[in-house]
Symmetry: C2
């Protein structure tokens, strides 16, 4: 049994938002507010970027009933950042702030890069001998975090994508004239989200072809595959990852802007538009490029209740584990069965193995031709999109959390 | 009382799909199948394009329980077309087909152009003395049909747009870095859908600026308005109609393809991308362009139940009115009040006044500066987006109608 550690907690959100990251926030904040070991709960304004500037919210002053609305509020309510710690001076500054507020519990909600941030902070605090429990809470629609069966945020994005692709399929097939539709889906290096478009087959409205970043993109092969489908059906519905790359590593898309995000990733987008143009020129047929864009990561109205529940559980587990002595770990999910049904289990993985390692779709879950996913893939995703979000509405529109966000 | 007319009915869908056009189909088909005066119910495959080719479905053979799924199936289940009747020979051909199948009831579901088609067919049938009752059923997400308070399809698209804009707002404001987001919304000449983005203010997440096609677009004014908001908030969320035009009538967008639809309308799109590029160059800030694209007209998962009910009612009313002797009319909605609450009434308008006349947002429902809508506009739209679609799901995904579609 670990020694009882009494002190304040701080919680931050980092990286791209999801539909359910605030459900994890609720799990962390509510559990921390209720824990006798935790004397005070702070929120970082815009993640570690705010922590460095000592921009903290006093979450003890929030109304508990209002906090519940976080379960159905998309995006990162405390503000997010894409901040990469590069200097030891930054770690020193974070240590100073933690000491100043007697923060002994550090919870950070994000993806690979955020787990890298957690690792650095944890290592530094150990080095300087400051007793603080550091726990990462997973988050990413991309589902590319290593060490967990799946990630909070993925199920809701997958549900949105499968539903939207099924609906677009109905639309794309409506005229008797020829038409090709190319839908671009998020996912830089891992194709989990693009693969999830295959679930539209359960609505009898699947894409005809799926192009994943796991497979090198070959333009001639692509054009010939699209043409084959088009010749048979007078239609073709394609889904493709924004991160699709040629064998030489260059992206299919034109970069939309010349800027890069804070971690040096090229900002992607434009894959569908680029290919729509090429296909139109080659086949002389009407081609529509559609980018699901931000909607796939913020469409809380179509969140999976399974995902919301699991995101909340991840946050709650982080706090409980830290109180029981856990540190230097990321909350992770395992896949269990109960009476033959999917059940989510909890485990904890060393932060260092989760940071900066990307989990891709196994080759055997992609068909031989590299143009669709297998039944194993669909069976993997399906439980994660179950359950309808029973969000509260006002005037037929979303009712988001209205936090006071009082700065300390 | 009109003479009783016994014969077959034919129903067709035309123009761009909506989330609820199939609810009108259900209203027409179910009412026609139940009517003793109607001996047989045919469906046109791809509207009048199919009728001309004698491609008809035998709707008497459909399962009634299965037909109910049409209430929650987006797009035009019988297939749509953008077919403009130009020659008398086409009208002659339609007459021949009607005679061959003893069709005495002609129901056509579409927007302005479809009402034009109805008018031509009705006029021709009167000219040749063929007794057939011709009724138009309104449909358009654009809400630009003249003679009706609002159009089936608009409420669901407005609900999708307001919800999505509110969600994107949460996402767009998440980082502490500057960001401008431009969302492009459908609507060629009328800004009803773009204006509906203002309803996101009921979720406390509205656009900062709204640009409607009713107001001539001035690039300098736009850039200065965006810059003003950006300077204050470090963010700016803009919604703009795909049909935004400069004072000289040229579109803000680059046409995406060189093709035009069957009616000679330029295919629009690219307004957001074009402006994102300009704003990025001018202000040197990250700008994201988002196109809601097809999703706004096919996202049945977020359809308004009010809209579904009214679309069904429009179809049902068309058949009942025709049986009672009505012809040459389009079903139209009136806005009534019952116990201080919104209620939809039904009236019938001459086809000819509905065809080819576009209803735009009144100037007094747009603010002086032309960058937002007034409370009157919001009060007009709000009742139309009420009620959650209680669609049936299978495996957490949409369960669409599976019709037999047996060709005659």
């Amino acid at each position: 049994m670990a020694e009882k550690l009494i002190g304040a907690a701080v919680f931050g959100q980092s990286g791209g938002p999801t539909s359910v990251i605030n459900a994890s926030a609720y799990g962390v904040i509510k559990t921390a507010l209720d824990a006798p070991e935790i004397t005070k709960v702070y929120g970082m304004a815009h993640g570690v970027a705010g922590l460095l500037k000592e921009e903290l919210f006093d979450l003890d002053q929030e109304d508990v009933e209002e906090l519940k609305y976080l379960l159905n509020t998309p995006s990162s309510e405390l503000g997010s950042c894409r901040y990469k710690i590069r200097e030891e001076s930054e770690l020193k500054r974070i240590h100073e702030v933690l000491v100043k507020y007697n923060i002994r519990y550090f919870f950070y909600n994000g993806g690979n890069d955020s787990m890298d941030t957690c690792t650095k902070i944890n290592d530094y605090l150990i080095k300087v001998g400051y007793d603080c429990r550091v726990i990462g809470v997973p988050k990413t629609i991309d589902n590319d975090l290593y060490g967990t069966d799946h990630c909070p945020g993925f199920g809701s994005a997958a549900k949105y994508i499968a539903t939207s692709v099924a609906e677009v399929h109905k639309d794309a097939y409506v005229y008797d004239t020829g038409a090709i539709t190319i839908i671009e889906i998020m996912g830089r290096n891992a194709g989990w989200l693009t693969g999830a478009s295959a679930l539209a087959e359960l609505s009898d409205a699947p894409p005809d072809l799926i192009y994943l970043p796991e497979m090198p993109f070959d333009l001639d092969k692509f054009l010939s595959e699209v043409e084959d489908v088009y010749k048979k059906k007078n239609k073709c519905l394609v889904t493709i990852s924004e991160g699709a790359q040629y064998a030489d590593g260059s992206f299919v898309s034109h970069a939309k802007t010349s800027t890069t995000d804070g971690f040096g990733h090229a900002q992607l987008g434009g894959t569908a538009a680029t290919l729509a143009n090429i296909v139109n020129k080659k086949l002389g047929v009407k081609v529509r490029g559609i980018e699901l864009s931000l909607l796939q990561r913020c469409a809380a109205h179509l969140a999976s209740q399974t995902d919301i529940d699991e995101a909340e559980l991840a946050g709650k587990s982080a706090v409980e584990y830290a109180i029981s002595g856990g540190t230097g770990k990321m909350v992770a999910f395992t896949r269990e069965e109960e009476n033959g049904k999917y059940k989510c289990g909890i485990t904890y993985q060393p932060l260092s193995i989760c940071a900066n390692t990307e989990k891709k779709i196994p080759r055997e879950w992609i068909n031989d031709n590299g143009t669709y996913v297998t039944k194993e893939f669909i069976d993997y995703v399906l439980p994660l999109i179950q359950g309808e979000n029973t969000r509260k509405l006002e005037n037929g529109l979303p009712r988001f959390a209205k936090l006071k966000k009082i700065k300390v």
